[in-house]
Amino acid sequence: MGRKVGVEVSIAAADAVGLCDVDVVAAYPITPQTHVVEHLSELCASGSLDAEFVPVESEHSAMSVCCGSAAAGARTFTATSSQGLALMAEIVFIASSMRLPIVMFLANRALSSPLSIWNDHSDTMMVRDSGWIQVFCENGQEVYDAVFHAFRVAEDARVSLPVMINVDGFNLTHVIEPIEFWTKEMTQKYLPEFKPIHRLHPDKVVTMGAFGMPEIYTEAKMAQNDALLKSFPVIKQGWDELADLTGRKYSPVETYRTEDAETIILGMGSICETASLAVDQMRERGKKAGLVKLRLWRPLPVDDIKKAIARAKDVLVLDRAVSFGAANAPVTSEIRAIMYHESNRPNIHNVIAGLGGRDVTPDHVIEMLEMALADKTHGYNIFGVRS
């Protein structure tokens, strides 16, 4: 077992990428992702990591370099945030369509304007339908472990898709947490060498990125969706084997005090830690509250979600992004859609909170719950708006 040290989460994540013996890192700096790439460039400069660090001139080129490098069969990593993701978005969609197993660390940050460097989920929701595997993390250890898992899943021949690790900007990227490090031996045991099905090399000629006429485009998209859905068991297997190795068990949907819960809070990312404290407080007051933590956002673990919330009376979904002009915020849309055909379904409430770095405390979560339960419109509320 590795050692446990207090370290900034970004630095730990970069160390994990280094332990994975990555071949190419291409990234462009943007707050709050900078510490990840800075540390990786240090590792490359000092020679402790044998990789090509490509200091690209934009995020668009970062993702393009990643496509070229993954197509050549190299283990490939990038990190970005917010505006950076927006700039690279065109290629983000292409990377998954071309089945290129790139791993991205996304420091979740609000989108401009107004310019904000602080945390919410509007960046990742922008590429919700890009076909990437999207995973959320609650604390530093989860982020660290997620790196090994991401490479393993992405490069698995049954998957061959890019993976995005969502890490709440500042709330997670910049905090110092106790993290149990992996050893080289553990990494080698867990993460096999990347052996791509096809690689760009003259020894075996391939054409990658052909264009699709209407006769084949539908089939191509169908196959892509199939691949993403079929990654689900591989993702779970990756977590199971990670548990064997580290003793830490991860699941697509995780529950906290939900066994007899009448009211369930559902969220993604670091807000879950806050919400768990709110649940404890409510339990102390005799309220049957619980928490459902959605770790895997794409592919969406539909059955696991149903199972986790079916018996509750009320579910409060905490969204960290606005879907402008829509019926619900993004996560709530999914939860309401999943439960629509269930005969036993809870009331599903929607509160949008923590936009652009607005602080959310356990007391706030309790307030949100009260606000949501009082509202019978089945719409959504934005929490904490000052008049």
Partner: protein, 311 residues
């Protein structure tokens, strides 16, 4: 059959590779000199190469899934990023070779884009690739407009040419009213070891330049004038001829910049008047004498400057 003047057997050219790396049966227009340029580039390099291509005519005509014209490893990702994709392929293979995961053999990495994909939307990615020093040959196949989307102007469209977005009218009587971007000078200003112009009419010169680029240790940039009968509104059998005229009028001089040293590769004793080049091209049909002489003055001035530079 007896050899007559009409069916004269053409002697094979020395050192001319017979192998084809882009197959016939692609969907380029009749008489397209852009695909001819591609063909010569590939012949000059040989099988040990990887090509990253930008969206544009050459990509669309060659890769309708499940068909492909490419006998070499080929990748297309998007319109503006061929230089970045090639940077990634080069970096990936470099790391993999070092770690012993692919054969330790030199593979030439080529990025290719049209004038739109190079001088406009892909300009930044190209600059990044050159500045970072990736060992990639960047080839711009310049047909002087966005042909794939229906002949719209680019910053490589010459003054006086009409396109569908630079039509001639009362306000803009010349059609396109800005001068062609000087890409080779821009590339050379990055301090890269090799930059050159070429034209498939002069295919031995073109192939020699590609082979030079292949040997240099660092980025290289080759700008190829690729006559497009469809977009220039000329008969399909005239592409080679117009390539010759572009060079012999000084409109598109053949030169190279090797480690900062400029050299003219073809210096006609006397330049032909540009009116000879304009004649018969539909895209210049609207030009009056005033514009023609204005353009002639500019071309002469630029030529003289280039000659001086190359002394």
């Amino acid at each position: 059959m007896a050899e007559t003047e009409k069916n004269k057997v053409i002697k094979p050219i020395k050192n001319f590779a017979m192998q084809e790396y882009i197959s016939s049966g692609h969907r380029a227009c009749q008489g397209c000199a852009e695909v001819l340029a591609v063909r010569h580039v590939l012949k000059a390099i040989g099988p040990d190469m990887i090509l990253a291509m930008a969206t544009g005519c050459m990509e669309i005509i060659s890769s309708p899934y499940p068909l492909t014209s490419w006998n070499i490893p080929w990748i297309h990702v998007a319109f503006e990023n061929a230089a970045a994709v090639a940077s990634g392929v080069e970096s990936g293979l470099k790391a993999l070779r070092r770690k012993g995961r692919v054969p330790d053999r030199d593979v030439t990495i080529v990025a290719m884009g049209g004038d739109g994909g190079t001088t406009d939307i892909g300009f930044q990615a190209l600059s990044g690739m050159m500045e970072r020093g990736h060992r990639v040959i960047y080839v711009c196949v310049d047909n002087e407009a966005y042909m794939n989307t229906g002949i719209q102007r680019s910053s490589s469209t010459p003054f006086g040419a009409t396109t569908t977005t630079s039509p001639a009218g009362r306000v803009k009587p010349a059609g396109e009213m800005t001068w062609k971007k000087d890409m080779v000078a821009i590339a050379a200003a990055h301090g890269i070891p090799y930059a050159a112009t070429a034209c498939p009419t002069f295919f031995t010169d073109l192939q020699k330049k590609i082979q030079k680029a292949k040997e240099v240790d660092g980025p290289s940039y080759i700008h190829i004038l690729s006559v497009c009968p469809t977009g220039w509104r000329i008969p399909p059998n005239k592409a080679i001829e117009y390539g010759q005229l572009a060079v012999d009028t000084g409109v598109f001089p053949l030169y190279e910049v090797e480690k900062g040293v400029w050299k003219l590769n073809r210096k006609p004793k006397e330049l032909k008047p540009i009116s000879e080049y304009f004649k018969g091209q539909g895209r210049y049909r609207h030009l009056d004498e005033k514009f023609t002489s204005e353009i002639q003055d500019k071309i002469t001035e630029k030529w003289n400057k280039l000659v001086k530079f190359c002394e």
